[in-house]
Amino acid sequence: MSHKYIIIVGCGRLGTILVNRLSRLGHSIVIIDKDTGAFEGLSSDFSGFTIGGDAAESSVLQNAKINKADMFYALTNNDNTNLMLAQIAKDIYKVPFVIARVNDPQRDIVYKNLNINTICPIIIAADELIKRTEG
C-alpha cells in the first residue's frame, strides 16, 4: 500500500464516509470544513487531522500543507466552490491529483472542458442503475 497525503474539503456525508475509509486504509488525511460540528461524524478510529475554516482562504490551505499533498478532493455541496478549490489546488499549488465533486450533472461537461477531473455521484448512480437494469 502506498501511503498518501490527501486533503479533502467538505465533511458532509460523502466526505465523512470517504475519510473514515481512507484513514482506515492507512493514508494521511486532512479534512477541512467551515463547520467544526461536521467533524463529529468522523469515526473514533479516524487518525487524520481536522481543520475548521474556509478552504477558500489561502491561509487555511497553507495550514493544511497543500504544497505537500499527493491528492486533493473538493467535495462540498457547492459546485462553484469545488471548481474554484480544484483550480487553486491544481494550478497554484500543483497538487498532482485533483478531483472536484459535481453535484449538478449538467455542469459536468463544463468542468471537463476546464481540464478538471470530476466525480458526479448522480451520474455514477445512474450508470450503476443502468448496468443493473441491463443485467
Binding site: 501511503h3 497525503y5 494521511s28 487518525s47 487531522f49 481543520i51 500543507k65 505537500k68
Partner: protein, 229 residues
Amino acid sequence: MSQIKMLIIDDEINITKTIAASFAKNGYFIQQCNDGNEGLKRLNEEKWDIAFLDIRLPGIDGMKILKQIYENQISVNVIMITAYGSVENAVQAMKYGAVDFVSKPLEPATLRNIVDKIISRQHLSEQSVIEYHEFIELAKLYIKQREFHKAHDAIKKALTQKPESAEAYNLLGAINEVLGDIVAASQAYQMAIRFDADYQPALENLKRITSMEANSADLLDMMSTILRK
C-alpha cells in the same frame, strides 16, 4: 546510531498514529506515551535518539519537559510538534537545545525528512562541512549542544554560500536572540523578510520581538542602530 529509538509524547491519536505509520518500514524502535509526566519519566529512565514532543500535553506541557531535558542534561534530539501553521516559542525552545519543529497536520514526507536530517547531522564536523545545507545542519547540531557562538559562526558561513537565504537569516536571528542581542536579531529577521516576504517563521519572530516589552535602553539602542543604516 544503531537501531534508532524514538519516543512520541503526545495525547492525540492522529499524531501518534501518523508518526508510527511514517516510520513503520524503517525498523525503528518506537514507543509512545500520552501524558507529559510519563514522557518525562521515560526520558529520564532510558536513552532515546529522538523524542517527538507536543507543546500542549496533559500533565506537564512540552516546554516544561524541554526545560527538564536541558536541566537534567538528557541527550536526546527533540522534535517539537506545534499547532497548525504556528512556530510559537521557537526561540524559547532553542534556548533549551530544541531546533526541529513540525506543525500540524503531520505528513509522512516531512517527518521522514526531518528525522533523516537529524540522523545524518550527528556525523558532521566543522572540518568536513562545505555546502550551505551542511552549515545549516551543523548550526542545528551546535544549538542542540547549546554551543550558540559556534552555531552563530556556522550560520554566517551558510550565508556566505547562499546570501539570500531567508531560512538562514531567520535562524541567525533566533541565535542572536538566545545570545541576548535583540538588535542583531531584529536585523536578521528583517533580512529574512527582505529575501522572502512570505517567510512565516521570520514574520512571526519579528512581530514577537518588536511587540516585546523592550526596556527603553534596548529600544533606543535598536532605533539608533536602525537610523544609522
